[in-house]
Every structure is written in structure tokens, then in C-alpha cells.
Symmetry: T
Subunit: 149 residues, 12 copies
């Protein structure tokens, strides 16, 4: 559909709200889904919102997005730092992908400073907690609008 | 003032619109200033918008912001990757600072992948061109609102 | 249950006993399960013993352990060296996790010398073959006892 | 079966033919399967041809190959560079494994220059596009013949 | 003697119980000696328990163990990370040596992540405080039993 | 000539068959020449087969190939890992060059894991002993055929 | 003047006393100036005390010191770790320069462990807070006395 | 003006002739200015000759050159090794820039072996003392002539 | 005693005055002891002055200082760069330790640029020859006074 | 002869004009020889102009230059980055050697950024194409003149 | 004495002949002492032959040698790779020191490839087993003779 | 011949005696040849003494030695640090090879600290000038004698 956006969430994000709230905030993933739907609605976009702990399933969903969606909002969780396969999937599908992270990765351990996703993402939004998803929907809407021109 | 935001731009950003438009987009810095003012207005914020090619002047302005502003939106340009002094200035002032970059630094040369600013920024928005400033104003507004609570 | 311990085994451990016995010993995974049950019984603990070749499934099981178990004994196999996602899962669940390895990783190839699991494990037992599982059950029992105090 | 060969394909290879054809060529995975079957037929070999985006499923299939096949032709895609678990699986099964890559990895990004698979592969064929699979079938047939002697 | 085990403790371990108890626990070295004697008694082993701040004396004692003991339990303290000479001593004596650390070294500074002792130890037990010594005695007893077979 | 292929062999390959046969196999260089001629004949190609221990002579021959041949099969021996000059020569001549190695370099010392030749080779075949030359002739024939189209 | 000493302070030091007092102490820069004047007076030295956030201005002042002063006490702040230009300025002027830091840089982030100033400083005093300036004045007085001999 | 060339000199170059003459030679900056004017005159070029210790001022002057000059001769002094901002300025202005150094940087400390300027300079002249400026004027004249064609 | 300070000197410092005087100065260790006693006297401190070539003995003395002294002045000589055990000893005793070096380590070989002692020292004084000891006594006196408050 | 200059060209430079003209320009080596002769004539110098693909022959010629020439202009081609032997030859002969490169090495692959020749060259000229040779002759003439004084 | 030579042996060398004879040979340290005495006798030298496992004692002996001997033959064992203090001791005493190793360190683990002793040794003899001591005595005799001239 | 030894000398050694005598000594290569012949004569060995500046010729000679000689004394000059091809040649011929260097490489530039030859040499003698060749002949004689047993 011309207005469908995939919002894909990687490993451990299903625990949001209960897990290390000092780092990740107290919003649950369901709260974030609502934030996304509201934000998307303002731009006439609809949302397919999913979470998986499995790298392979995330790859499948990116492939699926190629056929069904106009863009992807992606929080790859821990796979951010280790997955060449997700990097390749993003290159393969050719859609605009926005990388989002709840915490400021650059203020944490060094192994979180490198992302295999960033070089193939359209843009990165990082450190704003659940609000980052809303910003990313806005950002994606802007990208889609500018590409239509 | 309780609603003043400093928008600080580092070296070479005065050339925007004429400089490498494939990388940085065709908006001038004046265009970006307008985008910021419009976005800020929606949140009841006012903008002090400046650009300098000098590391020391940017430090001065960050110090000045401490006394006058509630937050900073900062695109440090090339100093992003080399300035411990700006890192220290941000730590010293204690205001929320949003780091913005027009281009996706992680899709460019390796020396642009490390930022001395990111570990002390509240959040990072990168790769969305001039739109990134609008998103950053929104993000900062959100941060300020959540801190008031 | 207050006395349930998850014993989770990562990739290729299903081949134990037939695979490179000079490195991993001649005990099968079923033998190790028995060792664990016997050792756990002495401490009044019961065992949920599983193996998976899939990183995502191991993450799911760690999440499941959060709800059902008091601690985890974990041999992450090859994911030890590459999985930030498992690292995050362990941090997220907050249970004591004991990392076990059959072989002495430090006497093998350099890429086996770094573990993403160790910094978030309570303790590490490595190089004692199948016996290491028995020691780890003992160790976990000790940790649980000391925490009750 | 004494003449069965597993041809295993890793993440994103299902998109072949439509994905970055300048890098990977315009043959689909189905085309490659035909190339393999034809080449194998000349050596009296039969082919089990599969693709998965999941690291764990690829490990399962390597284990399965141990029981059923005489050799493996393996294009691990993005897992080439990140998977110790696949490295261990190949060591565990003891079959001759031929590593194939469509593109010349060494002419691409530095993170593609290291393979965890190569040290445990019998040989590597890289850079010949779909033709590389035919060469690899030939190579594997040669290895099998020489080992019978 | 066929049942004598050397328990050797490196630099600063004489201060245990008073030193950084958050890191090393509140047991004194005398407490640990008792734990070792009790654990050893259960396996019919006797204990020679020593501590030295001197690298050379630790080497002497390892040499002495070669003539008198059947195995060694070794906590090399700060020499763990810097002593090739202790590495060589362990190789030279040919006895099974179990490396023990009170704290989880991998959760501390990077310079504590490398051990010159581990590659020549039979196994490593790390992060269990004073309990780790009891586990190590058990582990050594198991190693000795399996080697008799 | 439109069907001439240069097969160039670098340092120490003249000793093949007598030198470290466990690593390089028991075929002599004369045996390999025969393998190449037979394989080339099937594709209507003729072979200019040479060996030199001198980097400069190998460069000369690559230059010569530019004028006389349609492609090159190249085993650069020890110069693989150290010669920018050969890298430049291959770029300069513009012919398709297939890099062949008898042994699996990636299963040997780290200094053999980097090749200055690979980034400018069309493809790489490595680890199949003398058979690798036959495969490389086939591969080159395929490349030449595909380029004619 | 034969008894004039330049005391130069780099970026962010103007905020002393209000900025991160746990790290830098609660003395203001004016307090430090007084400490310096008192200490200098005891040695018959007079003080030119300045602060700048600008690398170039600090270079200018070092040049100026060459003409007017007998030595320099220098706290380069964040430029310590990044400025080859200041390194060169110190070499160029040939005066004894004492490097002072309020905090113990070696107990902080790794990027603070390297100084471009130290190799060209006469000596380094680090970690004593405002007291370090007094010690540095004493140290410089000693250096000047010993050079007169 | 179509024949104006900016000759820009970075930090500490104002001290030339008095500073470390064994390294930099005994010519003053005024001597070098004369050399430049004479050399430029032979090619019908005029010279704007400046020196600054400030990175930001050098950036300003590069921007200014964009509007007024046909090329730049640049000795960035110590900023050579640390300034991404100057690198970006050169890319931004699009003029041919010749990088000159008085001393042979590659015969000095390792931190002088890397230049952020070189990748964006048209060419580099290094090690010829004041003569290098004359050569650089000649070189720039040649570049300008060849571009007119 | 409440006013006792240990001054500990590491390996080779017994040779001072005769050894490489261009680097270390012409004062003997006895001269330095006198300097320390004089300086300490002014602050009402007494001195226990020792030298050892043995890492273990230095550790013993640090432990001893814990019971008897109020602070330590420590020149660890060559052990500065290699001793984790001394690092641990300083952490263990909890006294303020001032690290002193006669020469400017940062102007010498790279292996002298890293100190295991500095991160656990209160402050560092380096490059002032024998005078450095006097400064360090002053510094320690200041630290002790400020802690009494 | 007191006015003879060797102009030595390394591997692949014989192909100039036909090889990668976008990188190296369209001048042939014969064209460059003419440029050198003309430039040398203006300074009363004569030229011995040679090219070899062989490292050893280039060493021989440098040795020969020692006996016959007053200076050397050297483009070592690919040996620039790999030849300690050429580095040693230049040190051994004691003549002024000017290093020339046609392309800007620093704008190319990282392995071209290090030169074994530069630390022993008198000066480096790089990035000016064939013109660089003319500049280098001028530079060498200047060096020779200044040394006569 | 003008003809006394210290032969100093570091840690674990007391076990020679019984320890890893495949690496170190079957000669005992007593055998080596005899070899040294015989070799020294031929040059009119006498030998002081010692072994210690303690770094500090080896330093003491080097200091002692300064007063009593004309040269030192030194096998520092495992301290070779870790001791800056021994490096400093050799620099301090100013005697010619010959470094000897029984095994070829460069054919062993990477951590044995670096020696802190070599840069301050007169020469190195390595890989000849016990014979290496005889060669080192000869070498030292030659050095002493050449220095008398 | 059963008593023939090849003494092979690499690049620039033909200049010995005239080249950097402070580093390499004042003996010419002819002097060294005499030293070798005399030393060899004492052991009933004869000498084939050669020098080449060409890596390939040195490889040829090593191959030739395989057929004619019982051992090789090899000073590879600058190729020591860069030649995998010479490393391979030594492995290929199976003769004992003694590596000799006139100067102490470990007291010189870092790039001279790594040798590709050492891991395949029987032993290394380094730093004794021309005397080192005599020692190496003695060493080789010893190796040959011990192998006959």
C-alpha cells in the first residue's frame, strides 16, 4: 500500500517498560505502538508494527516490506552492532529506512558505538526514548514527501 | 529566557546551499533559520540562530546559552570529530543539547564516524538534511516538556 | 517456581559426544542433562534443560526464565563471541546467569577469547568439560543461597 | 545418500536477480538451482537446494547434511563475516564444505574481507557470479573423487 | 604426596576482607583457607595454602609443587595480566592448575580481560567470591579422578 | 591471439611436488601445466605457462599479456601478500585476471589472509590444490564467453 | 621582564567553581589567580594571568610570552588532547612551560590520557586541583633558578 | 580577480626565521612572501599573503578566496594533522589548493605523517623549505593553465 | 603515626647520580632523601624513605604504610608501566598516593607513556628531577590538610 | 659527472599514457623524459632517464648514481609502499633524492598513504601529473645550488 | 675484575633439562654452566653463573655486575617480554650485555616476539639451545676485545 | 657437497664499509667473506659467498642451495621485513638457515623489529657487526654436527 510503513523492533524490545527503565524509559512497546499510530495518522500513513528477537525474522519482514510498504522505521536492538545480514537486507530492498534507538548509544559501552545499519539507513534518530519513534515517523513522512516531488 | 533556544552552527555551514549540494542539500542557512523559527513557534519557543567557523566562539556561545537559554540545538560541523573542548563545554553548561547533522555521517569517510559531541548530547538526529533541524526543535521541545514534569 | 533453574545450551551443542571429542569430551548432551539433574537435586532445585541453534530462541527462553526461574546456567556456544542481543537479554532479565564452557576458550583461537556474555554473567566456569555443568549448578545454588540472606 | 550434496544459501539470497544486480548479477536463485542440478548431474550427484535468512536454520541444515550428504556447497551471505556458530557447525560435521560467493568480496567494504567460514572450508570460490556455483559443484566432485582413492 | 594440593594466592590477597569488599567480598584469606581445607577433606585431599606478593616466590612455589603436589589452585591476583614468567612456570611443571578469581574480571577494566595464565590453566573459575575456591577444589578433584582412569 | 591465456606462477612454485606436499600437494608444476593445457583445449584456448621467482619479471609478463592474451590465470605465491606493484600491473593491463592458490590461505598464518591481488582480480579460487587451476581455466573461459556477449 | 610569568588557561576554565565541582573543585578562576600571585610573590615573580576559549589566542599569547616572560604555566584544558599547533608553539618559543591540570586526567576517559603538550613541557603537575597551580609556580621558580646557575 | 592567488599560512609560521631554524630554515615569513610575489609575477599572478594562528580565521579566508581568487597555496602548519574543518572548507570552495610544508613531515614524529588536508589538495610539496613556496606557485600556475584548456 | 609519610622508590633508583645523569639528574638517592626530610619537616611530617628493586617488596611496603602512615610518595620506576599488582595495592590501602617521576616520561619512548599507577594516584608530578620530590611532599601535605577539614 | 641527475621510474610506469589515464594523465614516459630534459637544461643539468619493473634493478641504479650523479629524482611506483630495501639504498648513497608521484596518493586507497621512501627523501612532490617531474627537477636544482654554498 | 663475566639466567631456567625438552633441549643449567666456563676459559674470562626466578634479584645482580664485571650474558626468560625495570637496569649499568635465548622466540607465540631487553642489548643470539651460550661468550669476548682497541 | 655452506647477502650489503659505518661497521663485504672462509675452514666447511640486490635472485640461490649445500647463512637486508616469498623459500628447501644482521635491529626503527625470516630460521644472530658472520658459521657448524648424531 502506498501509505503503509513497517515499524520493526529487534531483540529484547518486547521487555520495554519493565527492563532497565533508567536506560530505556518506562514506556512499554504497546505505548510506543500507539505513539507511532497517532503520529502516522497525522501524515495519512498506516503502521504495521512488529517485534522479533530473531535476526532472520527481521530480515524476512524487511523483504516483506519491499512488496507492501513505502518505508521502514527500524530499531534493530542488539543486532545493530553485529548484523551484516540486516545491512544487506536494507540495501537489497531499496526502501527508505529510518534507524531509531531509545538510548544514546554513544554515551554507553564502546561496542554500541558502531552500527552496521547506519551506513544504509536514510537517517538516524537516537537518544530520545519513546519520543524518538514519533520523530522518526515525522522524518519518514518528510522523506516520502520529498521523494514524491 | 525560559523559552529561548540557541541554534548553533559550526564551520562551513555558512556556505550551505552553494556547497556540495549532493551531500548537504540545496537549502541555505537562512532557509534553515526560517525552518527553525517556524518549528519553534509551534512550541512557544524563540530562537537565537548563529553560525561561526571558530571553535572558541562556539564555546563562548555555549557558555552564553547557559545563562540565557533552556536548550541548545548544535550542528558542530567538522569540529564534531576533533573537539574535546566543545565536549567539555557541553558538560560544563548542563543544558540539554541536541546534536544535528545534515548528512548521514556514517555513510561517509571513517573519520566522520566518531563524534566527541554525541556522548554528551541528549540525542542525535542525523541524515535528514534541513528537515533534521525541524525534527531537532521538536525533539528539544519534548525534552523540555518532559523535564518540567 | 522458586526452585526452577533454566539450563540453556547454544548452537552445535546438540552434537556433543560425536563432535570433536578431543576438544569437547565424549559426553552427550543427554549425559550432561543427567549431571545437571543430579547436581540440582542435591540443592532442591529442578531443571529446565534446553538446546537451540537459534540466537532468537535463546533470547526468548531467557525472557521466559525471567517469569519462571530463579537462575540460569548458560552455555552460549558460538554466540558467546558475537551476540550483543544475548548480552542485552541477560541484562534485561535481572536473574543470576552462570556462563559455562566445556573447553578452555583461552587455549584456543583468539576470536574465542572475547565473550559478550561474561560482563553480564555472575560468574564464569570454563574448561572442565561436562563436569563444568555440575560445578555451575553448585555455584548457582551458592549464589541463590547467599542472596536469600 | 552417497551422492547427495547440500547447496545452502544464506540471508538475502532469495532476492537474487532483483537485488543490486550490478553487484550480484541478474540470475535468480531458481536459475542458480538449475545450474547446480545440471552441473551435479554430470558428476552423478544429486542436489538438495535451500535458502534461509536464519543463522540457526542454516546450522540445523548443516547438521542434517552430516547424516544425509557427502558434501556441502555453502554461500553464507552476510553471516560469512559474523558467525562463529556456523564456523563451529562446519567443524562439527566433518564434511567437505565449499564456500561460494557471487561477488568479489575483496573488492568491497573492509568488513567483507574477513570470513569465519573460510578457515574451515575446504576451498573458496569467489567473484564469478552464478557461474561460481557450477565451478563449486565441479570442485566438490573433484574433492569427493580424490577422497575415495 | 599423592593427595597434596597447593593453593597459591598472589599479590594483595593478604588484605582480603578489609580491601574493597564491594569487589572482593568480606571473607578474609584465613576464611578462604578454611573453605579450601573443608572442601579438600571431602575428596581426601590435603592443602598447602600460601600467599605471596612476589612473582618470583610464586614461581618458586609452583616449582616446589611439581615435586610435592598433584595439582594447584592458583589465584595470581594482579600478576594474571602481566606475567609471562608465571605462564612459563605452569607449562614447565606439567601439573593441572585451576585458575580462580574472586571477582568477575570481565565486568571490570579492560586490562583485566586478558590473562597470561588462562591459556595454560586446565580450567578457569571466576566471579564467585570465596565460593570460587570451594568450586575449584571440587573441579580439581574431578580432574585428578578422571586422570587416574 | 584471441584465444591465448597466460598462466603465471610466482615464487617457489617451481619446487612444487617436492616442497611441503602436505600443504601444496604432490603434483609438480609440469603436472599443473598439463592440467591447464587439457582444460584450456576444451574451451579452444591455448596456454602460455610460466614461472618466475622475480616480482619484476611477473610484472613484465603481465604487461606482455596485455598485448598478446585475452586473460590471465595468476598464482602470485608469496607476492600475493606484499606486492602493490603487481596490484598496479593488473589494474594497468585491464585484462580479466583469475587469482589461484593451491592451499587454503585462510586456514594458515594471519599474514596470508590479506591479498593485494584479490581486489583487482575478477575472481578467486583457493584451496583446491592442482585442481584449482583446472577450475580457474573453466572460470576464465566463462568470463571470456560472457564478455563477448 | 626577567621575572614575569604567563599563566595561561584554556577553554572552559572560565567556568571553574560552577562547573562539575566534583571533578574540578569549587575554586573559581579568580581564586586560582590569587593563589598564583601569592605563590609567585614568594619567589619574586610577577604574574600575567589570562584565560581564553580560543586555540589561536592561546598560541598568540605563547608567542607574546616569548618576548616578555621567563616562563609559562599552562593549563590547556580540552586542547591538551587535540592541538598540534599548541605543541608547535611551545617548541617555537623555547621557554620553560609547566603543564598543569586540575583533575587527574589518567583516572578519566581514555581520550584524556594523551597530551600533545606533555612531550614539550618541562614538567607536568596533575590531579591536585587549584593547589596544582601553586605547586607549578614553585616548580617553575625552581627551574628558573637552576637555569641561572 | 582572475589572477589572484591566496597564500595562506597557519599557526606559528609568523615565527619563521627565529624558530627551530634547523628544522624550518632561516628565511622569515616576509622573505617567503617576497619569493611568492616574484614567482607569481613570472606567471602574471598576484598574491594575497596572510598568516593566522586561528583555525577559524583560516576557514574564513578560504571562503573569501572562493569569491576572489583562482587558487590557494596553503601551509596549514599544525592544523594539517587535526583539522576536519579545514578539510571541509577546501572541499566547499572548489578551488585548486596546493599544500606546502617547509620541513619533510615524513621524517619527523608519527603524528605529522597524517594530513587531513592532503586528500582534498590538488597536490603536495613538502621538505624544500622556503623554496617549496616558489615551486608551489609554479605548480599552481601549471594547474590553472591546464584547466583553462 | 598521624604524621608519617612513606617515600617509596622503585627499581634502579638506587643508582641515581651515577646513572644516565642527562636523563635523571646528578642528585643521588641520599640527596633526595634529604630534600624530602627538609620539605616534610616544614609541614610537621616525618619520612620513612626506602628503595627496592623488587615489585613484591614495594607491595609489602604499601601494605605496611596502610597501618603506619598517612600518605605515600611513590616513584615506581620501571614498574610504573607494567605492574597491575602495584595498581591493586594502591587501591587496596586507600591512602593518598602521589606519583613522582624524575624525568618527563612523555618526552621519552612510547612504552613510558602509560602508567598503571596514575589512575589510582591522587596526583602526578613528573619531569622536575629531584625537585619533584619536594613538590610532591608539599602536594601531599596539602592533600592531607584538605582532607582533615 | 657534476651535473648528472638520475631520473628513476619504478614498476608499471612504462605503461603511462595508456594506463588508467584518469588517474595518471595522458602523457607517456617518453613525454616525461622530454619534460625532464628541457627542465634540466635550464639548470645546466643532464639527465639519465630510466624505468624498471624490478626492485633490485632500481637498487642497482641508485648505487650506480652514487658514483656518477649529483642527485636523483625518483618515482618508485608501487614499491613506494613496500620497499625497505629501497629505503636503505637511499640512505646508503647519501645523495639528495626527490620523491615524485603523478597522482595524489593521499586521495587514493589507504595502503598508498604510507611511503618507505619519504622519510629518507629530501622532499616530496605529489599530485601534479607529468608537471611534477618538471617541478622536481627545479627543486633538485635548488637543493644542489644551496648545498654548494 | 677485568675478566669477570656475569651469566644471569631468569625465571624457570632452573628447570632446564626436565622442562619441555622439545622446546628447550635436554641440557640442564649445570651443563650450560660448564659450556660457559669452558668457552670463557678459551678467552681468559671467568664466569659468575647465577639463576633467579625474581625480577628484583636479577636487577640487583645487574647492578652488582657494574662494580665487578666487564660484561653480562643474560637470558631473561619470561621477563624478556614484560620488564621495563630490567631494560632500565641494563641502561643504567653501561656494560655490554648479550641477550641469549635457547629457543627461537620468533617461531613461538606472538607475545614472545617483543623483547624489552633487545633495544638495550649489544647483540642477540636466539634459537641455538645450549650452544647459544657458547656463541654468546665468544661474541662477548669479541666485543670486549674490540672495545679495548 | 656435504660440506658446502651458502652465505647469502641481500640488498645494499655490497656497499658495506662505505655505507653508514656508524650503523654497519667499517668492514667491507670482501672482509666478511674472508672472515667466513676462515671460520668455515676450522669446521671443514667450504663457502659459496654471494650478494644480490634482487629478491628473486636470492630465492633462486636458496633453491640452488637445496641441491648443493648443507646449510645457509643468510643476511636478507631490507627484505627481512617485507618478503613472504623468502620466508616460503626457506620453508621449501628444508635446510638449516641462520639469520644474521650486522646491526641490532631492535634498537632501530619499529619497521625493522619484525622479520619474516626469523620464524623459519634455525636461529638468529644480530648486532655483532662482521663478527656476527663468524659466530653464525660456528653456530651452523654446531647445528650440522648435532643433526648428524
Amino acid at each position: 500500500m502506498a501509505n503503509l510503513v513497517y515499524v520493526l523492533n529487534g531483540p529484547n524490545l518486547n521487555l520495554l517498560g519493565s527492563r532497565e527503565t533508567a536506560v530505556y524509559g518506562d514506556k512499554s512497546l504497546a505505548d510506543i505502538e500507539k505513539i507511532c499510530r497517532t503520529a502516522a495518522g497525522k501524515h495519512g500513513l498506516t503502521i504495521e508494527f512488529r517485534q522479533s528477537n530473531r535476526e532472520g525474522e527481521l530480515i524476512d519482514w524487511l523483504h516483506e516490506a519491499k512488496a507492501k510498504a513505502v518505508g521502514v522505521l527500524f530499531n534493530p536492538g542488539g543486532y545493530t552492532h553485529t548484523s551484516v545480514a540486516l545491512h544487506d537486507a536494507i540495501r537489497a530492498i531499496g526502501l527508505p529506512v529510518i534507524e531509531v534507538h531509545l538510548s544514546n548509544l554513544f554515551a554507553r559501552e564502546p561496542f554500541r558505538h558502531h552500527s552496521y545499519i547506519s551506513p544504509v539507513a536514510r537517517g538516524i534518530i537516537c537518544g530520545f526514548g519513546a519520543e524518538g519513534y514519533r520523530l522518526a515517523i515525522d522524518a519518514l513522512a518528510g522523506v516520502l514527501k520529498s521523494e514524491k516531488k
